[in-house]
Point group: none
Chain length 415, copies 2
């Protein structure tokens, strides 16, 4: 089977956003054994959209559109596609009620144009939207399959993986099962080199993906039964472990913070964090995990030195002697917040996220992460992050990733 | 004039790389007053490439290709395009010498296939490559202009800006200037209804874009001079202000936090934040702005009630009487962090981000935001956010957006 991905949105043609949806879908389709032959982007213009859809139907069995499902006047994708396939649109009462509920719950006024989102081509399978109001749909007509997904990447991804992918899997001959291996502390190129001998495998396939500061390896096996596919994946996983085992922080997990929160829950330990340059990002990442309140006590964002002293009890002379960005201050911050919160583990982060504030001795990207753990165990990592002075976001993110990674490693040492 | 961007590369169709070249070129073309109507991506397959190029020539005056200029066997773009335009390829001696020099300087062996890079359609203007070996070219044939650029983004960008852009500028009939208006507190559909009478304008154009919890309106004018375009934009901006003025928090700004930090700097005021359900996200957003350290004192993530009491001095009886998620606690958190940091403004946020922890009386999405400002001014917003129980991220984000919006409004009232 072959597919075409058609993005609808003038904002992509204006260069306001990058078409990352096409990349996500290409990878997913490829893992399903479906060849993607074309990506097309077209604006919110009825004539050009119609031409593009007509062409897509003529040359591709599966056409997946992203965008153009919202309530506004320029969202004409659904209407145009239905016209081309010669299928009338009909109202779906259940969807209408969901939209009505959303608006009444949010205390917002529902406009007439919101009604449009509840109309679908007759016979379509509705794909519900877990993250927004615009539902998508899946429909088969003659030799074509049309899947319409919303434009915002979080809505599109959740809808594809939860609803559209299982429908496509049914069309495929055999079952595909994937297993995700997450690595921290190694770059994509190095990881790729270490597993090069494995990536030539046809079944299961092994593919690396660079994530921010991390590498994700996806193993995908095709087999007649789920059990067979899992067996194939497991044997590849063993080989992967031999090659890059020491960088693996989790298998089939979603993030460092998920692994950390699970470990803390399991061991019934509590954590508190003190942040300077990362300014709340570590607290935010830990508490992204539902139920983090069982293990996360408190976070202090101590930007000003006076706050480091008054709340975290960092020694004024230490700051004077070594500077606020120093290993010594990171350690005292970790200890200070641990005592403040009366937690089992305290983390302290101080550094220079840039773009300003760097010196020759202490450049942008210099970050100290300290952990004050049980039994007064102290761990420190001195980092030099970033690929230039414009990497504030990157430096902050990878600094918090290092803190999470350190805490995970420390917890795995606990009895 | 209108243009189409055609990327050639199987690696894009496999999802291995994102087509960021298309975004860069779209922005550049838009700034030249050239409309981009289509993006297409096609693999290194001669038949499909030929079809895609033929279609592009038939519907677009300017066709810009990226990729497929390298020396390897699958780089067939140039040959295919020359065949379609019916122009023979001829050897360019100067380019051949440049390539020879490059290889001898690099101490590498030149392969026969490198010779291919020195052939160009007769009459083409060569676009030299400052960052690699593959040159591009510009050619006009009948009603079409074809520009071929290399695939690697650094090579493509430098070639476009140094060589191709000046050639296009000569062809353009005017310049485009955009102005961005950012709205908070109104949904996309409602905003659209209120400005519906303005979106029909052809010059300047007015287009709404939904952002997370916000709406962006872009006004774009085309004129002979920059000054004329700005004048046209200003007159549209006045009309937009009449329709949705009370929701506008900034013009040509990037975010709520940017506006807040600028206001705080201007008024030489300092801020501190106490967060429960948003858990560091507000601190993180404020400190995303470089130089925030001048105005941001400290943040406290008080997840546990004991921390709310010990650090923020929230009254234990208040928590007992009204619950940790209450207007009263939000107010005390704001006051507590203001006093702790000795800042001018304190913000307190408490709520239920979900997916668990909601009750009938206090459902998921219930958030209280309080500001304790100068002269003991207290402001509170009671929010009911989210579109369902799976909106943890959304609830947290929009809660912090509300806090930023409240602080901006309060600061604008200051003398």
């Amino acid at each position: 089977m072959n597919a075409e991905i058609l993005a609808v949105g003038t904002e992509i043609l204006l260069g306001d956003i990058v078409n990352t949806n096409a990349q996500y879908l290409s990878k997913e389709l490829s893992s399903l054994g479906i060849n993607v032959f074309f990506h097309t982007v077209v604006g919110d213009n009825e004539n050009r959209l119609e031409t593009a859809l007509e062409l897509a139907f003529s040359r591709s069995e599966i056409v997946i559109t992203t965008g153009g499902l919202g309530p506004t006047y320029d969202d004409i994708t659904k209407e145009t596609a239905a016209k081309l396939l010669n299928i009338p649109l009909e109202l779906n009462e259940q969807v209408l009620n969901t939209i009505k509920n959303y608006f009444s719950k949010a205390g917002k006024e529902m406009t007439v144009s919101n009604n449009k989102q509840a109309y679908f081509p007759q016979g379509a399978t509705i794909l519900y939207n877990e993250c927004g109001t615009a539902p998508g749909f899946f429909i088969k007509k003659d030799n074509n399959i049309l899947i319409m997904l919303p434009g915002p990447p979080n809505e599109m991804k959740s809808m594809f993986s939860l609803s559209a992918k299982p429908l496509l899997q049914k069309l495929s001959d055999g079952i595909l099962v994937s297993c995700e291996v997450r690595l921290f502390g190694i770059g994509e190129a190095s990881a790729e080199e270490k597993i090069a001998h494995l990536t030539k495998s046809k079944n299961p396939t092994l593919a690396p993906y660079a994530k921010q500061g991390e590498v994700l390896l996806r193993i995908t096996a095709k087999a007649n039964t789920k059990q067979q596919a899992i067996f194939l994946n497991d044997s590849m996983l063993q080989k992967v472990k031999k090659s890059v085992g020491k960088y693996i922080y989790g298998v089939n997990v979603s993030s460092l913070q998920e692994v950390l929160v699970d470990l803390l829950k399991e061991k019934k330990l509590k954590i508190a964090v003190a942040e300077s340059c990362t300014a709340g990002l570590l607290a935010k990442r830990i508490t992204e995990i539902s139920g983090a309140s069982q293990v996360f006590e408190c976070g202090v964002v101590a930007y000003a030195n006076s706050i480091k002293q008054s709340i975290l009890k960092v020694n004024a002379t230490t700051i004077k002697k070594y500077g606020a960005v120093s290993q010594q201050v990171a350690i005292q911050m970790a200890k200070g917040v641990k005592e403040l919160a009366n937690s089992d583990i305290g983390i302290g982060i101080t550094g220079i996220a840039g773009p300003n504030g760097g010196t020759e001795e202490k450049p942008v990207g210099l970050v100290y992460v300290a952990i004050h753990s049980q039994n007064n165990t102290i761990l420190v990592r001195n980092l030099l992050l970033g690929r230039g002075a414009n990497d504030r976001e990157y430096i902050r993110f990878v600094a918090t990733s290092n803190a999470l990674d350190m805490a995970i490693k420390e917890l795995k040492n606990y009895n």
